[in-house]
Amino acid sequence: MAQKKKPALAPEPTPGGKVGVYVCHCGGNISDAVDVEQVCAQARRVPGVVVARDQMFMCSDPGQEMIIEDLKSGLVDRVVVASCSPSLHESTFRNALLRAGANPYVYEHANLREQVSWVHHGPEATAKATRLVAAAAAKAARLKPLEPIRVEVQPRALVIGGGVAGMKAALELAARGQAVVLVEKSPFLGGQVAQLQELAPEGETAAAVISELAGAVLGHPAVTVYTCAQVEGFEGYIGNFKLKVVRKPPLGATYADRLEKLSKSGQGLGEYVPFVGVMPATIPESPEDFDLEAGVVVLATGMRPYQPRPGEYAYKNFPEVVTLPEFIRLQAEAEGEGDTLMLHGRPIRGAALIHCVGSRQIPGIHAENEGGYLNEYCSRTCCAATLYAANLIRDRYPQTKIFDFYRDIRTYGRGQEELYTQAAASQVVFFRFEAGEEPQVLKNPDPQGPPLLVQVKDVLTFGEELEVPVDLVVLAVGQEPNNIAGLVQQMKIPIGADRFLQEVHPKLRPVEMSVAGILLAGTCQAPFDVGETCAAAGAAAVKAAAILARGFVELDPFVAEVDLSKCTGTGACVEACLADGALSLVDLEVAGQKVRRARVNPVMCLGCGACVAVCPENAINVQGWTLKQFESMVDLIVSDEYLEGA
C-alpha cells in the first residue's frame, strides 16, 4: 500500500475541548428568521463552550479573522460555525483553522440556512437553530485531530481516445514532463475530425490540425500510443488506477472503408490521409493484453454524428439525401471545376440544407430513436458547419443554389455570426419551420425537374406552404456521445440525461468527474467544436499534470478505524462493507497469540458506516463521525438543561 503518514499538523488540543461557537447572520438570510443573539446566548450555556459570537458574514475576512484570533490566543481549540450549508463553506472554515495553525478536523458545521431559516419561521426557527448548534458543539468537544490520508501517485497518465481531445490532452501532459499512455479503439488517430475537411468558422483544414497533433504525439518520447486498444479492466483510485488494456484486430469490416482508402492513397504509417486519419502502427494479428498503472485517467472518448433513421427526411429512401459529414466527403472528393457542383456526374443546381436533424428533439412531437431516447439538446456546432458548407458551395459553384431550412439558427461563437451574414450576402434563401412541422422530402412528380421536392410550411412566408425542387438534400446532423457503457460501468462515473459524461460542476469544475483522478476532455462531455475541445483537453491535461506533479494526493480521513482492543475478528464488518477491498481480515499477533482482526484500507473506504452498524463489539468507527460523537449530539438535542429559563 502506497501510503504514508504526514507529520502532525499541530499539537493535539487539550482533551475535553474549549469550544468556540460562531453564528452567522448570512446578511439577513439567517437572522431574518432566527434570533442569532439568542442562539449565541443559549450556546454559551452548553457544556464545553467557552465563547459564542455572531457576525454579519462569517465567511468574510473579518469573520474568519475572528475565529483565527480566538484559536491563536488559545481561547478555543474546537470550532463550530453555524451558517450556510457545509457544501458551500465547510472547506472555507477548515482552511481558516489551518491558517491559525490548528488541525482542520477539530471543526464542526451547523447548517442554519437551508435547514432552518429558509424553511422555518418564528420562535420555532430559533429553537431549532439553538438545538442544532448545541448538538454541533457537543460533537465538537469530542472531536479528535485527524491526519489526511496521503497516497503516492503512479507517475503516468492514461488518455482514452485518440481524437483531437485525446491527442491534445496527451501533448499538454507530455509538455509538462509527464509520461502518457494514449489508448485508441480504432487503428487510426484523428477521430471524427479526420472525417471532415475544412473547419468552421475560420476554415482551417482538418488535415493541418490532425497532422500537427498526430505528428507531435507520435514524435514525443513521453507519449506511448496504442491503437486497436481498449480498456477492459479498471480498478483502484486516484493516484493508483490499475487498468487492463486489450489490443485486438477490429471486429469484422468496421474500418474496411478507411483501410481501403489508406492503401489506395499510397501513404504509409504515420501519414495523414483525408477521411481516414493517421495510422501509426499495423493492426495486431491476434489479441494481446497488458496491465497498466496510472495516476490519472483522461476520458476523451468523443462523439459520433447522429445517424438518421431510414425514412427520416427520406434518408436512405433516395440516394440524393445525405448527412452533412457525408456531404463534406462527397464534395471534397467531387471532380470537375465548373460553375456547378457535380456529384457522381450529376449537376447539383439546387441543394436543400436542413438544420437540427437529431438535435432539439421534443417529447411528444418527435419519434424516439432506436434506444428509446430523444436528443433534447442543441448540438451547437451544426449551424456554423451548415452555413460554412453553404458559403463554400456558393463561393466555388455560383450556379448551385442553396436553400436553408432551419427551426432556429444559433451561430453562437466568435466568427460565426459572420457566416450567417455571408450566407445572406451569397444569396442563400432561408426557410423557417416549426417543431413538428419539419420539411417533407418527396420524389419530384415533375419528371423534367430535379429528383427531389422539399415541402415546407414556411414561417417566414406567413405560414404558406412552399415547394422547392432540389437535386440534393443535406441533413445537418448533431453530435451524440460514443457508446462507452463498459467504461461508465467499470469506473462508476455519472452520465447525464443526454447520455454525455457529467462533470462535477458545469461551471466551477467542468473537466473533473465525481470519481477523483478521472478527468474528461472534449465531446464525451457535450457537443463542442475543435477549439472548445482543445480548451477542454488542455484544462483536463493541466489538472491531471498537477495531480501527477505533486506526487501524492490527500484524502479526507473520514474513514473507518478499527479499535484493536475491542475487535474479536467476527468479520461482520467485512461482509457488510460496500467498497471492495476497503475491509479485510488479517492475521495479527497480539500478546504472542495469532488472531484474526479487521483491517481498513483507508484509501478504499467510503466512510459510509455500514461496518459500524453491524459490529457486535462496537469495535469500529468512522473517524470524525464516531458513535460517541453521535451520542453527544443526541444528548444535547433532547436535553433542555442549557435552555434559558430551564
Binding site: 436553400f403 445572406a424 450576402a425 444569396q427 434563401v429 432561408f430 417566414l460 412566408t461 415547394e467 422547392v468
Partner: protein, 100 residues
C-alpha cells in the same frame, strides 16, 4: 402550394431590385410602416426571396399604397432598402401589365 423560383430575384435586377436576399425577415420595416397594413412591406420582400411571382401580381395594388416616406429604409438593420425595393416592384408589375 407555391413553387419556389430561385431565378426570380435575378430577373428583378433589371428593375433595380437587387437587395431582397439581404433581408433576414426581422419585420422592422412592417413595424415602422405608417400604413400598418398586414405585413407590408416585408411580405413583398419575402415573395421576392422565394420567387412567388403570382403572389406579387395578385396583390400588386398594395404596392401603390406605399407613401415612400423612407422610414423602412432608414431603420432596416440589413440595409436591404425596402423602400427602393417597393418602387422597383412597381416597375416590374407595370412591365408585366404592358406585356399582357
Amino acid at each position: 402550394m407555391a413553387l419556389v423560383d430561385p431565378d426570380f430575384a435575378a430577373e428583378l435586377k433589371a428593375y433595380g431590385v437587387d437587395t431582397a436576399l439581404d433581408c433576414f425577415n426581422c419585420g422592422t420595416c412592417a413595424a415602422i410602416c405608417p400604413l400598418n397594413f398586414e405585413h407590408f412591406p416585408r411580405k413583398m420582400i419575402r415573395y421576392v426571396q422565394v420567387g412567388a411571382k403570382q403572389k406579387i401580381l395578385q396583390q400588386a395594388q398594395d404596392l401603390w399604397r406605399c407613401l415612400h416616406c423612407g422610414l423602412c429604409t432608414r431603420t432596416c438593420p440589413r440595409q436591404a432598402n425596402p423602400g427602393e425595393l417597393i418602387l422597383g416592384l412597381r416597375r416590374y408589375v407595370l412591365a408585366q401589365f404592358r406585356r399582357a
